[in-house]
Subunit: 464 residues, 2 copies
């Protein structure tokens, strides 16, 4: 195996990193999961040719390759372990082209979502996908996971915002998938197939992104509190049913709200209180905000409306502090089920049931406008737990039992295992439950077309 590293070093020089710290870091993402053992090396690619050379050597030596960006994933999909190469694209972060007239940009995969959007804003443009990690996650990682975010119900997910990708497949060949045009139906849509494929089909070395113009006009923010989570869920469904189209509609349950208030040293909320935070934008922002406020009041909410952009950001801060607040409670397994919007109240009932029956606490936030929930399973890292590099703590079995119960409830309600985080390592054992055995096998065969030797992210997504 050391022959691989030597060959890579001969080809790529100092871009092949085998320092113990780098190898240890490459084992983990932000999910709490870490791969077993240390990878052989971290290749820091700086060009498409670097990626092609790496894949050629990997193919010749049958060495598994795990593609990484900024390692902000929440499903373990980019974690590299024993006998594997970590191929980092983080250094490939150039913007190659911005075309305001065609509303597109061509970028390398390693650029951070927020950095891209800063550059686009100078042209009055933006790339709409806005995962909560946007300040620290890469466009390539957003594409690999099919990321979502807060604005999806109105402005779409990654799949709606990519025209084409350049893909290096397992044997090192470079394919140009997709097109630069708004419409295009020439052949099979391999661009969409690659989006969300989590490094199992190839290495995304470039992307042609579909842009939007920055939305002119005001932004209005509405914060409404409710006596319990079901009431907030029913109110959010009423907002959707009213025909209003909020840009953002975030729901925080009582656990979440209390934890954030404690972290920010705000006055504690009324026990049991839950919150909806809603933003409207565009030319009808004010009218829509007023109409939504009426719906929320009629649904039993206590409502405050702000027409000030900065005050709105302050109201949203409570939602944005969710992750730090969870860390203050213990260790969190952050989950990601999605259900049809009408099933949100029933899904919150199921979460309460799982909490009761399994004796666990599951603070939950939801992108209520699109039915995507993030239940946070809280646990204490026990003294004897498996702790890897960087203080990684794996969720214990009783937490996974509770998560299993919750996943199956989401599927029963017509939902899906993962709305935006991906399958990675952590959800691979439920994949066939959702897809069915026939589709699961078909998907594996499609992967094999791109990667006949099975060297691209083996053990992720399609392992049982």
């Amino acid at each position: 195996m050391s022959g691989v590293v030597e060959r890579l070093r001969a080809a790529l020089g100092h871009r092949v990193d085998t320092s113990p710290d780098s190898l240890a870091l490459a084992r983990a993402d932000k999910s709490g999961h870490a791969a077993s053992g240390l990878p052989l090396a971290v290749v820091n690619a700086t060009s498409v040719e670097d990626v092609q050379q790496t894949m050629r050597i990997a193919t010749e030596t049958r060495t598994p390759v795990v593609v990484r960006g900024a390692a902000t994933g929440l499903a373990g999909g980019a974690n590299a372990g024993e006998g594997e190469l970590a191929l980092s694209l983080r250094a490939m972060d150039r913007i190659l082209e911005i075309r305001p007239d065609d509303l597109l940009a061509v970028v390398e995969p390693g650029i951070l979502n927020a950095d891209l959007n800063t550059a686009l804003a100078e042209h009055g443009l933006w790339w709409a996908p806005d995962p909560a990690s946007r300040a620290i996650s890469t466009v390539g990682g957003n594409i690999a996971t099919g990321a979502g975010g807060l604005l999806c119900a109105k402005y779409g997910v990654v799949r709606d915002a990519v025209l084409g990708v350049d893909l290096v497949i397992a044997d090192g060949r470079l394919l140009h998938l997709g097109h630069r045009t708004v419409k295009g139906v020439t052949g099979l849509d391999l661009t969409s197939l690659v989006i969300g494929s989590e490094g199992t089909l190839g290495v995304v070395v470039g992307a042609t992104l579909k842009l939007r113009r920055l939305v002119p006009g005001e932004v209005c923010t509405i914060a409404a509190t409710f006596p319990d989570v079901r009431a907030a869920a029913v109110a959010s469904a009423a907002v959707t049913a009213s025909g209003a189209q909020p840009a953002i509609m975030e729901l925080m349950d009582a656990h979440s709200l209390a934890a954030v208030h404690a972290l920010l040293k705000l006055e504690p909320p009324t026990p049991g209180a839950t919150q909806l935070t809603i933003q409207t934008d565009g030319p009808a922002a004010v009218t829509e905000a007023d109409a939504i406020a009426e719906v929320l009041r009629a649904s039993g909410g206590t409502v405050a409306v702000s027409h000030d952009r900065e005050e709105g950001e302050r109201l949203l801060t409570v939602r944005r502090m969710m992750h730090p607040a969870m860390e203050s409670l213990g260790t969190a397994l952050i989950e990601d089920v999605s259900v049809p919007r009408s099933a949100l109240p029933a899904m919150f009932d199921e979460i309460a049931r799982v909490e009761r029956e399994h004796g666990v606490t599951i603070p939950t936030v939801a992108h209520a406008g699109d039915g995507n929930l993030h239940p946070n399973f809280i646990f204490d890292a026990p003294a004897g737990s498996a702790i890897g590099a960087g203080g990684i703590v794996e969720a214990p079995a009783y937490i996974w039992d509770a998560a299993d119960d919750l996943f199956r409830a989401a599927l029963r309600l017509g939902g899906t295992l993962t709305g935006e985080h991906g399958v990675g390592v952590l959800k691979r054992r439920w994949l066939a439950d959702e897809l069915g055995d026939d589709q699961w096998e078909l998907q594996r065969q499609i992967k094999a077309v791109f990667d006949p030797l099975g060297i691209l992210n083996p053990g992720k997504v399609f392992s049982r």
Copy 2:
């Protein structure tokens, strides 16, 4: 081979149609192309089980199957010929579910786009894809071709409006692809792969569609004439660059405009005159229309604005009469290239060049908001030309030479062979030019995963 028909008849009874008229009709679509010879039978499926039985018998007997809807295709993709079965889904036309709260509908594939939208309108909803054929084309056909239409720049194409499909694959197994949720990244996105796959991967027997609420507010219509086509194309680019987002922006060149005026017995336009017809909708319709009118005047246009919905429809009638007007000129090969919006003026220059160099007339309309052009190659059906059932006339070689020149020009400009009609039979020989040989071969291998015996629409899309 007659054994196939007997087995089908034993299983499906009178739903197996072998009348000469039905067989002859199944050879053709609206492209002008017809398959060689007559198919063995037309199976009129009325249920998913009918489709599964047909595919099981087809697999056992290695009989090719061509799936058909309303036969309005423009690339020959649904034409069935000698030794093949035509599998019609037109009779599977039920709406199974409409959910205003979840903004989705579940339908069978044979329902007409317009019939679905009539039913949805009662709930204040619509399915956005609006191919020009919407009154006569099926939702299943729209999915199979990845159809577009007039409203795409603002409201998206079929790919943006389908959450999931039920697919019967070659051996008769039924797969449920996709989900009912707004977000979902569980496994590979096979739904997107099936959209636009033109019957090569499986039989779409059901679809979960993503709906929109009917857009409230006014509709404004702007008609602007220009002295030549380049001026109109530059003006349409200026509208896009201004940040306005028209719902519809249609460009007619001088040939097209003159032909429609003649057909409708309107006063002839000034020689060389071209037209842009633009509609704005939603809460900012009037403001946007006024701003667009200013841009058009600054670009040298003679502009008329109407705030009346019916008057707007009258202005659009000129555009909608394009196809009948072409038929009045001769026989038309209707093409479908798409280019980045900024390349529209250059593409019109190329069309003029092809007209000059090949001595053909190519009246062209364009969905100028998204860069999709429909050049109509006009020819006379010569006395000795191949005329099949229903008066089908194949385009002669000199027309294909001119089309070849035009396709290559579109590719050079960063465009694509087909924006919304598909590859079918008529464009298969250019497919590898756009995809590259490596991707072309990869796509064929993916098809083989779904259809290892090659019985699904053989000879279409992936034949050279």
